[in-house]
Point group: C2
């Protein structure tokens, strides 16, 4: 795979796409996304519409249309533009062949720029730049220029287009709009069909260059347009415009807010808006950037992934999830999976800890949804949704994929058998506590989650009186190709861990925060016999142990399945679009797994010997298809832990370029799954920090086992651990740790099991 087929590198922050390829439209839209955790505006040309996957996804707008899947809504497009010169449209539409377009994207500030040049008689050119503001999350600012008009007749159509791309039915209805010709502000108001959220999209614009005549308003059912003619003498047109989106879930009176913002943005002007926006990013990168020396492509790819993990995350809210595809499109329903805690969160946990807290608080606010799900399925406590939106109610459809051969829907059991999401959340809370020592969070939020998860697990496990052990029956583990398995090692270990942490904080609170504990016990009606049960289960739960070959069986009977490879299975496909898993896909009766599973267990729990790690890595690696974007980063972390830096680097390439080189498929088993793989994005951070730097935290504290691949000269990044900041530099010969000047106490850590204490503004260099 050659990246040149997809883009060119300008520098460590910028890429360029010299010429558009039609088959890449869906990928450009996602990869070149402008976003800020509130909205995501896809990397499409202003002239494009739903056929080219134009969309602006808005958080907190869950809606179900036509009885299909509940998902986030897209906003009408206030950057919609039609340019007609001498009666011809210019928009670099597929097969149009009138202009060529170059795309530039800056991942430092999320700035999308396009330059389109006419292939026809003159030098006519469209140049446009935009960003989704981090200073005002409701704003997308755009500067749109048309150059070298050469006195041609030009018509321009701008406005707000409500006829938009949706994956599962149209979410907006009852469109009303207005144009205020005094202020040059247009708005379009609509409401979502099921959830009745009001969504307001406003546009304010000003022509900075070029003379405009004859402005006409055109209303369509779902759109409002302004038809404009440029004066014949205009050589150049430059328009600044602002797209503003508010919903009634953001505040009361979204229309007023949108009109206010539209007006003030116009007053501030594009350049100042951009400065304010960039200042926020500068602050973020101060802690979150990772510098790679020695490979510019890899440097760019790392920042691509960091950027996408950041903009996918609704850091401004403690009540919103991180979508599995962020806000890059509606795929996966704009909702959180276990990815949120295990893949997206770690980066924030050691940098922007407030954001990490918000991510976990989201799980607190969705406890009722999780309780409802547990109750609906006959369990107690909190069984978190597999696909979790705002309320935490289960959004995962029972019939997720389709049998592409028969056309019949497949009853996948992601929503009722894939239980590990609940203990995964407990795990993340524990890690948050270790990294921040934020006992207030635990006492006020985390403990209730931990207790309710433990309660759920108690109701979910079964005691095998014959073997005197607790078992978990009928599961999906991380490897989703094997549904309906028993005692998935990953899930069983996570279950024990979640129970033990619930017990730990129960007894800690009993001694240190007894009133708080009583309050929670009263609130959730928790009684002592439940604590006894958690203790008994955590004592007697079956934890698959390494066998005489040091192998841990992924689930009961896994080793008896047909032993083959993904390559062989690929040849067995009847239709290349077939789903490989449940109930009758090619992988189901084989040892071929979709993604890291036992290996995933290793990345979360460093409790096995190197022999065990080696044996399992070597066994599972050739049997893993990496059909999930979550997989390569986890293999990389274990590879690095084993000192196999070059293998870790191979996985880096697999993981970092999933979106950047568009290796993923946008449709599987009849379901659109395109968009940015935010878990892979978050996984890149883990791969470097937990993998190459070998960083981990546990009860023993912070530690490092660094190893660096030959391809890179040096990596450099900052971390924030228990409110102590420090910088790491790692090259082939040396591991360097430098503490921040304003640290209020000494940092304790170990490198290769040797302990260090470092005061503020100190550094240590360790030869490797």
């Amino acid at each position: 795979m050659n990246y040149n087929n997809f883009f060119e590198i300008k520098d460590g922050w910028n890429l360029q796409i010299k010429e558009l390829k039609e088959d890449q439209l869906v990928h450009y839209g996602s990869n070149l996304l402008c976003g800020n955790g509130y909205l995501g505006y896809r990397g499409t040309l202003e002239e494009w519409g739903k056929e080219q996957y134009q969309a602006c996804v808005i958080t907190d707008t869950y809606d179900m249309a036509d009885g299909k899947w509940r998902e986030l809504s897209n906003s009408p497009n206030a950057l919609t533009t039609k340019v007609t010169v001498n009666g011809k449209d210019f928009g670099d539409y597929p097969k149009e062949d009138r202009i060529t377009t170059e795309l530039d994207f800056n991942y430092k500030y999320g700035i999308f720029k396009r330059i389109s040049q006419s292939k026809l008689e003159s030098d006519f050119e469209i140049v446009s730049e935009r960003f989704a503001s981090y200073d005002n999350l409701h704003l997308i600012a755009n500067k749109y220029q048309i150059n070298n008009l050469d006195k041609k007749e030009m018509k321009l159509k701008i406005g707000i287009n409500g006829d938009i791309w949706d994956l599962n039915g149209c979410h907006l209805e009852n469109f009303t709009g207005e144009y205020d010709s005094n202020k040059n502000i247009v708005y379009l108001k609509a409401n979502t069909v099921e959830s009745k959220i009001t969504l307001v999209t406003a546009l304010s614009f000003e022509f900075k260059k070029g003379k405009i005549k004859n402005l006409k308003v055109e209303n369509e059912e779902k759109s409002i347009y302004l038809l404009i003619k440029a004066e014949a003498e205009s050589e150049k047109i430059e328009m600044e415009r602002n797209m503003i989106v508010y919903s009634s879930n953001d505040l009361n009176g979204p229309l007023k807010a949108a009109l206010n913002d539209a007006e003030s943005a116009l007053k501030i002007g594009y350049d100042e808006l951009k400065e304010k926006h960039q200042a926020v990013w500068d602050k973020k990168w101060e802690l979150m950037d990772i510098q790679i020396k020695g490979n510019l492509l890899d440097q760019l790819a790392v920042r691509f992934n960091l950027y996408h993990n950041i903009i996918a995350t609704p850091a401004h809210s403690e009540r919103l999830p991180i979508g599995a595809r962020g806000l890059s499109c509606q795929a996966y329903q704009g909702s959180a999976f276990w990815d949120q805690e295990i893949f997206n969160l770690p980066m924030f946990l050691f940098t922007e800890t407030e954001t990490a807290k918000n991510i976990l608080k989201y799980r607190y606010h969705t406890l009722d949804g999780a309780r409802q799900k547990a109750e609906d399925l006959g369990y107690a406590g909190a069984f978190y949704a597999w696909i979790s939106g705002k309320s935490g109610k289960e959004l995962c459809p029972s019939f997720f994929f389709k049998d592409v051969i028969s056309g019949r829907k497949i009853r996948n059991h992601f929503n009722d058998w894939q239980i590990h999401v609940s203990p995964d959340i407990s795990y993340a809370i524990w890690k948050y506590y270790l990294a921040t020592e934020d006992i207030d969070f635990i006492v006020n939020y985390g403990s209730e989650i931990l207790f309710e998860v433990a309660r759920f697990l108690n109701s979910r496990v079964h005691y095998n009186q014959f073997k005197d052990q607790y078992e978990i029956i009928r599961l999906l583990g991380p490897d989703e190709y094997h549904e309906n398995v028993d005692n998935n090692a990953f899930t069983n270990y996570q279950t024990q861990f979640a129970l033990k942490k619930a017990l730990y904080f129960y007894f800690k609170m009993e001694n240190e925060y007894p009133e708080k504990l009583e309050e929670i016990k009263d609130k959730i009606n928790l009684n002592e016999s439940e604590i006894t049960a958690w203790q008994e289960i955590s004592e007697k739960i079956y934890l698959p142990q390494p066998d005489q070959s040091n192998l841990i069986e992924q689930f009961d009977g896994y080793f008896e399945l047909e032993d083959t490879t993904a390559k062989v299975l690929n040849d067995r496909l009847i239709d290349k679009a077939e789903y490989w898993g449940w109930p009758n896909g090619v992988a189901v009766f084989t040892q071929v797994i979709k993604q890291a599973d036992v290996i995933q267990l290793f990345t979360l729990h460093d409790i096995f010997s190197e022999e065990v790690l080696t044996a399992n890595y070597d066994y599972y690696e050739p049997r893993t298809q990496h059909g999930s974007s979550l997989s390569p980063s986890q293999y990389a972390v274990v590879a690095a832990r084993l000192g196999r830096a070059e293998e870790a680097y191979d996985y880096f390439k697999k993981s970092a370029f999933i979106d950047l080189m568009s290796t993923n498929k946008a449709v599987s088993g009849g379901t659109f799954i395109g968009g940015i793989h935010t878990a892979a994005a978050g996984g890149i951070w883990q791969l470097i920090i937990n993998g190459f730097a070998g960083m981990k935290i546990d009860k023993a504290g912070l530690s490092f086992k660094p190893v660096l691949c030959q391809e890179w000269e040096e990596i450099q990044f900052k971390l924030n651990y228990q409110n102590k900041k420090f910088e790491i530099r790692l090259n082939q010969n040396e591991f360097q740790l430098k503490t921040a000047a304003d640290n209020s106490e000494a940092l304790k850590f170990s490198v290769f099991e040797k302990e260090y204490f470092l005061d503020a503004a100190a550094e240590v260099k360790i030869k490797l």
Copy 2:
């Protein structure tokens, strides 16, 4: 459905098929089967071969060819015949259109007769009669005549044809054969490819009429033929011949035995062989016949079913199973299912109790196979095979059906999740004990089965500590369309019953047969803690109770499935040959069930109120497809118990004519499932005795709740209960019970809950 499309009634024992229909060949072969529990010779013309589904299935010849399914072997055909007159073959081959054939079958003695008459120039005719002897189980005797030859030139080819029909690969190899011209005996010896059983097929023949010249021997790879010319002056040819089959599993030296039998049969002659054979049948019918007055078709149908249940049963052995298709073909691998105990056995239990004992002893002799299966799947005790051959090892293929749309095999879980067969066997042992008081059997055989089944159940159930109950997870109940269900009511109740009976006999033996108990405990290493566990499970096992509508849920969550009908589902089929069940068939996510399930529970356990029976019958009836031949008879029993005699009669028709009117399909989901439905045959006995006569036995003793459908004037049958024989007559007005003259003690029973005691040779008449 009109039976005339299939056959004509001659009298209550005999049917006639006036003209052959090509699309019925597979059904004639099964319906007109000559059999005796050792072999089954299909109702095909002597001129036919494998294309017309000719086969002679031999018990105890399990073999696996080409890695396919293990099944019984077919014997080479020693009745093979080719008749050539004036250069033309006559055999009523499909589309040949030279002769027409009439078939007659006598169900009293299992005598197949065919008369074929030339459509061509003369009255040339073939008449042949045969039976599978009950006097010598290895013998099929045949009288073959060719009439009105009218001095034509005729060639005859007889011998033994080893090129035979097999469902799953050729089972025989290494053919050797010889013709002894002094004795007119031919034999063919071969061995099975996997199990290396020697199979000897012998033929002895004698021409009683007609002159024979020029006999030539022709050997083919798998066959040995005699080519014969009739003298020109022969007007008529009459040949008596005997087909003898022995295998090395029957005795050492099967060849010698076959040659001896062939020779002696020739000496005895056809007519005397027939007399001896008929004498055995006369004795059987003395106890087993059921007379129906008022409907000759129904009378014939009842005897058809009784006949087939008898000849399917290897009464001569205590080590052989009853095949789900008897010996009518190789379908279902010539092996036992739960049908054996629940459907085939009851008729013998109240008539030929030695046979009933043999059927149960078969389960004793296959305990090791059941233990092996349990161990292989991680359980203890005896998990009986879903498809059980001689050894009791699991013969059920993991991939049973095929997805006819994709062509991919389906992993049906009949072999690992359909556990009820084990407690079903315990149930049958209990009923045997009640009906016979044969405590010797319990002490020497039954108790070990009961203990090992209980032990298996202990290892199979899970304790739900959260609900303080034992549960059974991941099951198939009798309704096979719903795999992977929890707490199937039928299975859970059967499990409790099996545990309670194991406990009952454990304590009975502890007090009454302590040495025997110690012997078994030593043998199977049974300890007291297991007894405690059985007791605890039987106390705390979850037994779904009638809800406020009196309904018992078939399994957890059944009532939440889509509520629709089989008719609606039929329209959803993409391919009519599709399997309806697991994992993605049309019935899986609906309440449409294949067969009686909660209703099956009611036929085995009379512990629910009439309100509960009514509610469930009315609920489940319209949701039952009766896709299994096991289903209608069970609905009929419950209908009769509710006094709904006409509905019971409707089910009688559904059940009795499944084979007789060929309403079943021979292939489903790509698998050949043709042949005689022996469970439906046994079910007819239950339908009349347990249904119309309302007979049941439990700890309270023998009782009747008679009700008769309007269509019948009277039914009459005999029973043997605790070694006391009696005859029942039931008509619309009266229930009459007459005890046998040689009963040694009084018969105690109740009719409509009123108790009676009847000495030998006494009778009681009860007005209805």
